[in-house]
């Protein structure tokens, strides 16, 4: 990866990503785990390409949204997470 130091915001994004993957590991079936991992990784990679690095307001908004979704996902009743695009 990069040898350059990560900014505070980048560290927050990475820790959120790690949190999602850890939550995925706690789910019962491997299918659920894979589904969560694919959804989360596609979402993070898409945002990393599309969102401007300096758009702090939008990145913080996404981080807050992500933390709320992660808190919901951690509860044992939740099985998977998905995203739908409405135009």
């Amino acid at each position: 990866m990069g040898a350059t130091k990560l900014s505070g915001m980048q560290k927050q994004v990475l820790s959120l990503y790690r949190g999602f993957l850890r939550a995925a590991r706690s789910k019962p079936t491997t299918e659920d785990r894979k589904r969560i991992e694919t959804v989360v990784s596609t979402e993070f990679r898409k945002n990393s390409k599309e969102v401007d690095r300096k758009n702090f307001q939008y990145i913080e908004y996404l981080l807050r949204l992500g933390h709320k979704q992660l808190d919901q996902l951690k509860s044992p009743d939740m099985v998977s997470i998905s995203s739908v695009k409405i135009n």
């Binding site: 969102v51 401007d52 758009n55 307001q57 939008y58 913080e60 908004y61 807050r64 709320k68």
Partner: protein, 281 residues
């Protein structure tokens, strides 16, 4: 679009309406059959007012902006919420704001109007006269914005939850299954605290809360803490006082008293906080 079609229909109506017929269109404000707010002076001496409203859409990320809307005050109800609903119905359906009761009891429509926090359904539009021809509407200050005028209230609600706003007793009630009795004098001690609607106007007007939103509980939560501390039926008074006896939770209050000024229900959270501080000694 559809509004253009309806606009054409309106123009085919007779220009002069009798007084009774005039009343009916103004009552069904949800439909767009009213005459459109005239752009650039209308007939019948319209009273135009500009509203500058904070807009930010998370889906099309950019910087937040103040967008101008012109409203004819003759076609609009007296309160700011009426103007917002009129704008959303007729001019810009993408304007997002919270609202529910339209009578100042739910606390959903709390926002910053012309620099002062208040409920949109209780704040009259400052109309007519030369003075301020522009009203600026922004979301509650120093709160994270979700979209346009909608703010993230989770921290505020969590702080309210943290003071445990329910009756706690150690001994069982004297008559099990019946109400715990309270004298009129004891009930009068709760006046000025139970009316709080958790609109967050006071907490978001407190500069101390701006600088420490996560550690300082804020006037609203402390008002409710005092409500439960002063309740004669509650037996955990000492524990409640100890729970908030903290450098940050309580003593960030420096009696700035912006909270009493901002409260749309006329309550005085600063006074209740002073009461708690007095009990702490």
């Amino acid at each position: 679009m559809a509004s253009g079609l309806i606009g054409r229909l309106v123009r085919t109506k007779p220009a002069k309406l009798t007084s009774t017929a005039r009343l009916i269109p103004s009552r069904c404000t949800s439909s767009a059959t009213e005459s459109k707010p005239s752009s650039g002076g209308g007939g019948r001496g319209s009273n135009l007012k500009t509203f500058q409203i904070y807009r930010w859409n998370p889906d099309s990320p950019g910087k937040p902006e103040l967008q101008d809307y012109q409203i004819d005050l003759k076609d609009c109800g007296p309160m700011v919420l009426d103007a917002l609903i009129k704008i959303k119905n007729e001019m810009d359906p993408s304007l997002t704001f919270r609202r529910s009761c339209r009578e100042g009891i739910c606390g959903s429509c709390a926002m910053n109007i012309d620099g002062c926090n208040g409920l949109a359904c209780l704040t009259k539009i400052e109309g007519g006269g030369g003075a301020a021809k522009e009203t600026t509407i922004t979301p509650l200050p120093h709160m994270f914005v979700i979209k346009d005028l909608v703010v993230d209230m989770t921290n505020f609600y969590n702080q309210y939850k943290s003071i445990e706003p329910w009756l706690k007793r150690k001994s069982p009630a004297s008559e099990p299954g019946k109400e715990i009795l309270q004298s009129k004098k004891d009930r009068a001690k709760l006046d000025g605290m139970y009316e709080c609607i958790l609109c967050a106007c006071c907490s978001t007007s407190c500069p101390s809360y701006w600088w420490n939103p996560e550690s300082y509980l804020g006037p609203a939560a402390l008002l409710h803490a005092n409500r439960w501390i002063s309740d004669s039926r509650d037996e955990y008074t000492k524990e409640r006082l100890e729970a908030i006896d903290d450098e940050f939770k309580l003593y960030r209050c420096h009696t700035i008293l912006n909270c009493a000024r901002a409260c749309p229900k006329g309550l005085n959270p600063g006074k209740q906080i002073a009461h708690i501080k007095q009990l702490q000694r």
